[in-house]
Amino acid sequence: MNDRTVNGRMVNDRIIFEDVSKFYGEILGVNRVNLSIPPGITSLVGPNGSGKTTLMNLMTGLVKPTRGRIQVLDYKIDDPENLFRVLGYSTQFDAFPKGLTGFQFVYSYLRLSGRDSRSAERLAWRAIERVNLVEAAKRKVAGYSKGMRQRIRLAQALSHDPKVLVLDEPLNGLDPLARSEMIALFRSTAAAGCYVIISSHILHEVDVISDQVILLSNGYVVAEGQIQNVRSEIQEHPTQILIRCSRPRELAAKMFEYEHTIEVSIHKDERGLLLKTRDADRFYLALNELAVNGIEIESIAPADDDVLSVYEYLIGNEEAVR
């Protein structure tokens, strides 16, 4: 389903993992991973050691799978010469070639691609501008703060306009302003039809930017897809819905008449209620009827279809990361 025909040639427009496992000796990295990643922002979510970085290193050929097959669009991971023309990877490795300035770091990377000096210089400055590091570009990377190092790595990954951008904990070390700038950058890149793969262990961070998530635990993929879809598939946990309305107590009483309602609590300001239901679809039908019969509904919002809640439901409180 991932292949399409362009000019009579079959092309793959997904990042594919087929039954991929990676073991470091006897230590499990990831096991039996099957993924098909579409364009947009995809977040790899999981605590430290869950396999996020391994998955990214596998995707970029820095480590080889013990078993299985990986394909990034039309490229195999053992073909760096072509793979990295469409892929940029900002790693978590915090070491740089010695003695380079920020500009030289990005420029050298572009020269390694075989670009001439003029083109490499132009692209390097453009990438450095995109991450707001122009003023520090002529300083040695060794003297950079953690956030600046993060940004120069991002500039390197972005410098050749890759179709696939793989970013390992890209918001680490950034101040709030820089975070919002970077998030805007990821969104604009994804909006241009690119694949942006982000790893994070900060769930509320990825919640706001991800088109889809891949939840990892102990080397296994425990769920993947759009977060709302993932949430709706978790039947054993009731859906929580926050309703703002004019007469919350009256609405609560009416709702208890339905068998799918489990629990209702009135908000302190008496202007809303939190309801738990085991069937969200039937709840919404019932609410429509009640609204027609005079209860004024201001807003309805799911209260637990964020990444944190889903992760807690799937992995358990003790492993969920905050």
């Binding site: 050929g61 010469e81 490795f93 010695k98 670009r115």
Partner: protein, 372 residues
């Protein structure tokens, strides 16, 4: 292979070389390589200074002689001649020293005998003659020959083969080539290269070329400086004679060529060793032993070493000193030497084989710093 592809690979190799040059030439952990390369130069400078000092002393003594002497004059003095005969042949000695020895009498009652000892020192400006006279007669003569190009070129060959090739170039290549990949793994910066759109084999070729440029520059410079220092104390006419009429220039060029080939051979060995081993001491010791036992190996195995071909190419054979134990003699002899074209080809084949193994290994390499 498309010409466009070849052009990109060449651009990429140049980019790798540019990045590597600074590291290979100016790395703090590589400073000892300069010291090792400079040691034989220092040795020849010290030798040149000592020889020049000796020559100045000889010239001064020659000037003080009553008449100019030549080597034949010095050889004319024979044991048993009287001091007057010596003076009549060579003139009054420019430097002399005498002392009296009290020899005990043959019988206890007889008085002791006084014996006059005289030492004469002559020089023709190149060679020294020391004449020891006892009781007015020549008892012993000692002619010390001045700098002799034949002997000195054998000494140069000995230093080149046993110190420069086997130790300086060997360990210098170890220090530079083993660190091309291993050093970056230790610094945790190898991923920078692995994330670029570059074939791993092209990356390896670029790194090898960078190492080769560094080692060739350092050791060829050292070799040229050694030759300059070696020739320093000769007179201009002596230098011309050696360089243009005694194969000196040809030998100097061959030594430079052998140095370049040594860098290629050892460089390729240590490049692959740096990928296969975490600890450089193990492959260094293994290769050093392998190269060391080369003379004792069967001919088939000899061909898998670098020193076997390098020794065959060296222009001056080192003679085996008389009385040397057979094992030692075997070590310094060029046993089963091969013709120069075969030796050059042999080194290149050995190097290419090592580079082929490196290319297989570099494709398999993973970034997993935590296990290093």
């Amino acid at each position: 292979m498309k010409p466009m592809m070849k052009r990109i690979w060449w651009e990429q190799i140049k980019a790798v070389v540019r990045l590597e040059m600074k590291k290979t030439f100016f790395a703090k952990r590589g400073l000892w390589i300069y010291v090792v390369a400079a040691l034989p130069v220092m040795l020849f400078i010290a030798f040149a200074m000592a020889t020049s000092h000796q020559q100045a002393g000889r010239a001064s003594i020659a000037r003080q002689s009553e008449r100019p002497l030549n080597h034949q004059d010095l050889l004319a003095v024979k044991p048993g001649m009287t001091n007057q005969e010596v003076i009549s042949v060579l003139g009054k000695p420019p430097v002399s020293f005498q002392w009296t020895e009290n020899r005990p009498a043959e019988t206890e009652k007889a008085p002791s005998i006084e014996v006059l000892h005289e030492d004469y020192h002559y020089s023709d400006g190149q060679n020294d003659l020391f004449v020891d006279l006892v009781g007015g007669k020549v008892e012993q003569i000692n002619i010390q020959q001045g700098n002799n190009l034949g002997q000195d070129s054998v000494m140069f060959a000995g230093v080149f083969q046993f110190f420069f090739l086997r130790l300086a170039v060997f360990f210098g290549c170890l220090g530079i080539f083993m660190n091309l990949f291993r050093g970056e793994i230790l610094d945790r910066s190898l991923h920078f290269y692995f994330l670029a759109p570059i074939r791993r084999e092209v990356l390896m070729a670029g790194k090898f070329l960078a190492g080769l440029l560094a080692t060739c520059t350092i050791f060829v410079t050292s070799e040229i400086l050694q030759t300059v220092a070696f020739l320093w104390h000769f007179s201009p006419s002596g230098r011309d004679l050696y360089l243009y009429h005694n194969h000196g220039l040809e030998h100097a060029a061959i030594y430079v060529g052998v140095t370049l080939l040594a860098c290629v051979g050892y460089g390729a060995f240590f490049l692959v060793a740096g990928m296969l081993f975490r600890n450089p001491i193990i492959p260094a010791a293994a290769i050093l032993i392998w190269e060391g036992i080369n003379p004792f190996l069967p001919t088939v195995l000899k061909q898998f070493s670098v020193i076997y071909y390098l020794k065959s190419l060296c222009p001056v054979a080192i003679p085996t000193p008389p009385g040397m134990p057979p094992l030692m003699a075997l070590l310094i002899s060029t046993s089963d030497p091969v013709a120069a074209p075969i030796a050059v080809l042999g080194i290149l084949v050995v190097a290419l084989a090592a580079l082929y193994v490196s290319s297989l290994q570099v494709r398999r390499m993973e970034i997993n710093y935590t296990t290093e």
